[in-house]
Symmetry: C2
Subunit: 335 residues, 2 copies
């Protein structure tokens, strides 16, 4: 027996990947209901070789549906998730709308799948840059108790959607051909051959000087790790990469853990691949992680600037483990 | 009365900038002697509107010269600097050959110009990523005593020379046109639309898992700041940017210093421009710093994950303050 699945925001970068992941993992879909704004309604998506017409998202979209994936922005989630819940359709929400709500589990299945059972109709999928981080932090935390984490990110433009990917491509072409400045619509500054210490594009900065992305990483990590004593600071940066977030992560643990022990520990952890052989210039790369399910870790080395310090380099596909894959994994646990 | 100036490696990315900086700052050059390998000998450079023939670097190149700038790699410096010294020609060396030698001053003029007088024929110019870092650390160290620094870099390809810039351009064109993989000669992996946690390209990794670039930043910072108790760890990363190194810097100080006090302090410091107005999405950017003399700082904010914490974003032109400009400033102090 299968389930009926609605996908809200099916034409977006994450929505497209959700369909692919459902297919690839043989998720037991009876009826697939692709939903989008009126602009996309009437177009078709292909799922398991069949063309299915996209419907406009309305209050009535969730009739008969069992699970809905939402990836159409926080405002859409805030408006339409209640209608799904009303129809007993469980929501896996990829936006930040409900992530920090006390009664909403925020889940990375390898880390805290046990939280799923307590849901009240919505399970939140964490921020892309948070997922790959906690996946790696958890085994280290369990083994050596993490005291403090300092993260700097190198985030791909696909985190800002398909239009952002197009903007990077077009702006790069403009710069290479020395044409007039490209007329940007997504990024606040040139992203081609540049790095921007600002994510997201709009309403980014909070009173404390941090961006909302930076605070998401801090707050979501504490919630998923279920440890408010964890100290963490982040600087989130957009880089001219299409797909795959990289993170430079400095960790201070309570107990001593060596680089070798960390490598060994992470090699055995679910969802993680250690790529760490400097003699062969082997370490995780965004271009290699793109399209892959795993989270890759390398450049694992001890940091002697603090008592029990480690440095790591973590890379994962922000649209897969960072979004669509994690969401479908949550749904699999739900079944 | 002027001086006679030799420039070794005059056709390289840094050599070209040294000529421009000497011109722009009206450095009192009587005779300019451009030196390079036999491949470039016979070609011409333009200096103050005059074409000057490039000579091949030999043991006799420094006869009659007062100052020599070396930027042709560590091996060339190790081989030819002694011949310059023999002729009483003072060397400003841009390579890593002598930087950590006890009797060689390692100088960023705004930070430790006082060390220049003690030279024995060679003054070393620090690594590009080190210069912009110490320039900003120094005023903070003086005001609040820095205990620990965690740095992640976003370094431009021009740090690897003109051929690396060409490789980024060509590989980007290949990727955009979906052609076969570009036949790389500089970088170990695709640099177009990617980030590489490895600098430099060759002989990068040391026994402790760090790259030589990372250890340069650590060791040179301690030497320039003249403080071995300073704790510092770094992750150095190449990004697809032509010019301008960015750095995400986390600082822990002994004394409390607020973000506002830091902003105020740095605004008054020589060579630094604070660009930090999040309400206008204003922060330092590589594309804006390229071609400029100053080092730019922004995203200044307190980090509450540690007792007295700060986060900063530091950007500077790696070929100017990171190399040619700093070298010429050292020479100016010499005169």
């Amino acid at each position: 027996m299968g389930v009926n699945v609605a996908v809200v925001g099916v034409t977006g970068a994450v929505g497209i990947e959700i369909l692919r992941v459902l297919e690839k993992r043989d998720f037991p879909v009876d009826e697939l209901r692709p939903l989008a704004s009126s602009r996309s309604a009437g177009k078709e998506v292909v799922f398991r070789g069949k063309e299915i017409r996209i419907r406009e998202l309305t209050q009535d979209s969730f009739e008969g549906m069992n699970i809905a994936f939402f990836s159409a922005g926080g405002d859409i989630s805030r408006e339409f998730v209640p209608y799904a819940i009303e129809k007993n359709c469980v929501v896996v929400d990829n936006t930040s709308a409900f992530r920090m709500d006390d009664d909403v589990p925020l889940v990375v299945p390898e880390v805290n799948a046990n939280k799923i059972a307590g849901h009240n109709g919505v399970i939140a999928n964490p921020n892309c840059s948070t997922i790959q981080l906690v996946l790696v932090l958890k085994p280290i935390h369990d083994a050596a108790k993490i005291k403090r984490v300092v993260v700097s990110t190198y985030q791909a433009v696909s985190g800002a959607g398909l239009k952002a990917m197009d903007e990077l491509k077009k702006e790069t072409e403009y710069v290479l051909s020395n044409e007039d400045e490209y007329d940007r619509s997504i990024f606040p500054h040139q992203i081609a051959f540049n790095v921007l210490p600002q994510i997201p594009q709009d309403d980014a900065f909070l009173q404390n000087g941090y961006t909302s992305e930076e605070m998401k990483m801090i707050n979501e990590t504490k919630k998923i790790m279920d440890d408010d004593s964890l100290r963490i600071t982040t600087t989130t940066v957009r880089v001219p990469v299409f797909r795959g977030h990289s993170e430079s992560v400095n960790i201070e643990t309570k107990e001593k853990i060596s680089a070798d022990e960390t490598r060994d520990l992470l090699s055995k952890a679910e969802g993680i691949v250690v790529l760490d052989d400097t003699s062969r210039q082997l370490y995780p790369l965004a271009t290699e992680a793109a399209g892959k399910d795993e989270t890759f870790v390398g450049r694992i080395r001890e940091d002697d600037s603090v008592e029990n310090g480690l440095n790591l380099w973590i890379v994962s596909d922000n649209l897969l483990k960072g979004a669509a894959l994690n969401a479908v994994q949550i749904a699999e646990k739900l079944l």
